[in-house]
């Protein structure tokens, strides 16, 4: 079993077997994080660039930790400290990185399709760390991993994603990841934040939260972008919070042993109340730990793809 691509651009189109391979590998690698020396020499000599055009401390640190645990050589390149501000094009930046003989590039960008763009102009393996509202595949994988770790299965679980579905790359990767493994996925949000024809992705769409939560096992609460109010997608955050905020009162509709997830960072009191976010059903901190293991698995599985056949 191996991954079909030497890049990780999206979970759309990935098979159940491929996703399972990544999750199984992550499960094994998670053990390393508990060792006295939490580092293995696997990617010694492998150069990885973290190319971040969008500020994202969490994702970047998680990737960097995963890279370092595997002994890769890590270079951070973020838009604020680089030549991007001087008007250098993405293509030029990429050419420069290519000249540095880099093996893997982890990229975060505000425009959809940039990771794909990189595969067209460089030899390195490309890992998407979030592109526009398109996908955030490692987040999708770590969400599926976290749920699988708790329930020992994905098939048949009812997963509800709540929030601004239209502008969420996490929602898209979660949808593809969970549905590939047989979960029953629903999305829920204000009608202005449900993109056209979302049902074609294999999910049910709701704008009534109580209806969506009925019989759910997992609720993934998305961060609501505070600036959406300006685009008149929302009259006010107060109104959003009243209609879509996850509060303790609403949780009695869920199945026993339910799970609350959030990709972070949390707007406490807006999309979720602190008592739910910090409550016994929350796996929000497990998600952070698992993020490192999942990213290690992805780095490991995508490295060394250009070897000779023995």
């Amino acid at each position: 079993m191996k991954l079909r691509s030497r890049h990780l651009l999206a979970l759309e189109g990935m098979s159940k077997d491929e996703i399972t391979l990544i999750l199984d590998t992550a499960e094994t690698l998670k053990e390393i994080l508990a060792r006295p020396i939490r580092i293995v020499p696997t990617l010694r000599g492998v150069g990885v660039v973290n190319l971040f055009y969008e500020a994202s401390t969490r994702t970047r640190i998680s990737f960097e930790l995963a890279e370092k645990r595997l002994s890769a050589e890590v270079v951070n390149f973020s838009a604020s400290t680089s030549s991007v501000k001087k008007g250098e094009t993405l293509k030029d930046t990429v050419r420069n990185i290519e000249a540095m003989k880099i093996d893997m590039v982890v990229v975060r960008h505000q425009a959809s399709g940039v990771p794909y763009f990189l595969t067209q102009c460089m030899k390195a393996s490309i890992i998407n760390a979030g592109d526009g509202a398109h996908e955030h595949p490692t987040q999708g994988l770590l969400d599926v991993f976290t749920v699988r770790e708790k329930y020992k299965r994905i098939k048949g679980l009812k997963v509800v994603i709540v929030g601004d579905i239209k502008h969420s790359r996490v929602a898209r990767s979660d949808i593809w990841g969970f549905t590939a493994l047989g979960a029953d996925v629903s999305v829920c949000g204000p009608t202005t934040m449900l993109p056209l024809e979302i049902e074609k992705m294999g999910v049910k769409a709701y704008s009534d939260l109580d209806q969506a939560l009925e019989g759910a096992d997992v609720v993934n609460v998305l961060r609501i972008q505070l600036e959406r109010q300006r685009g008149s997608l929302l009259p006010s955050l107060r109104e959003y919070s009243n209609k879509f905020g996850i509060t303790r009162d609403r949780l009695n509709r869920l199945n026993q042993n339910f799970t609350i997830m959030h990709p972070g960072p949390i707007n406490r009191g807006v999309e979720i109340t602190p008592e739910v976010a910090d409550g016994p059903h929350s796996v929000i901190l497990d998600q952070v730990t698992n993020g490192v293991a999942v990213r290690m698995a992805v780095l490991y599985l995508l490295s060394g793809g250009e070897g000779k056949v023995e």
């Binding site: 079993m1 191996k2 391979l21 199984d24 590998t25 094994t28 690698l29 053990e31 390393i32 060792r35 006295p36 020396i37 580092i39 293995v40 020499p41 696997t42 990617l43 000599g45 492998v46 595997l70 490991y300 599985l301 490295s303 060394g304 793809g305 070897g307 000779k308 056949v309 023995e310």
Partner: protein, 181 residues
């Protein structure tokens, strides 16, 4: 047309059993008992051999010794040249290695690279008193300065011969044969 292969059986089940019993005795003798001893088998077949040796020692010395299983994939030195990444299996060393006498167990000793990887990994778990090596078969052709402390059988081979070790737990029988190309 595939080339004609010649298969030579070098150890049958009885020979494997005798070799393991002898190795277990040698370990106890060399370490003057089994008090501070632990065995770590290298996956896949070395792991089963380690379990068997631990049982044999238990019979001889009437003490239970810790057994660990180790996958050395993440410590291999050829990971970047492989076309397909090997599946990483679980490493389970659930005891503290510090100050223990660790006996690494593998089925075949060949280039020595697997053992090098295993040594690195053990040292990342802690600082043992010393590390010894037991193998069922030593077939020669070392690429690193590594030698075994306990050898079931020395088998001279050509470099491109294949040594096929079968273990009941995975292969339904115990045997060692050489496949001559």
């Amino acid at each position: 047309m595939p080339k004609k292969q010649k298969i030579v059986l070098v150890m049958d089940a009885k020979a494997v059993e005798r070799a393991l019993i002898r190795v277990a005795h040698e370990m106890v003798e060399k370490n003057k008992g089994a008090e501070n001893l632990a065995v770590i088998g290298i996956k896949t077949r070395g792991a089963y051999l380690a379990e068997r040796i631990a049982k044999l020692i238990e019979q001889i010395e009437k003490v239970k010794i810790p057994v660990g299983l180790m996958d050395i994939t993440l410590y291999r030195d050829d990971i970047q040249t492989k076309l397909e990444q090997p599946v990483v299996q679980k490493t389970e060393v659930l005891f503290d290695v510090v100050d223990k006498v660790i006996v690494l167990v593998d089925d075949v000793l060949f280039t020595g690279r697997t053992i090098r990887a295993a040594l690195d990994q053990i040292i990342d778990f802690g600082r043992p008193k010393n590390i010894q090596l037991a193998v069922l078969v030593d077939r020669g052709h070392r690429e690193l300065p590594i030698r075994a402390d306990y050898v079931g059988k020395n088998i001279p081979t050509a470099k491109d011969d294949r040594v096929n070790v079968k273990i009941t737990e995975v292969d339904k029988e115990d045997s060692v044969s050489i496949i001559k190309q």
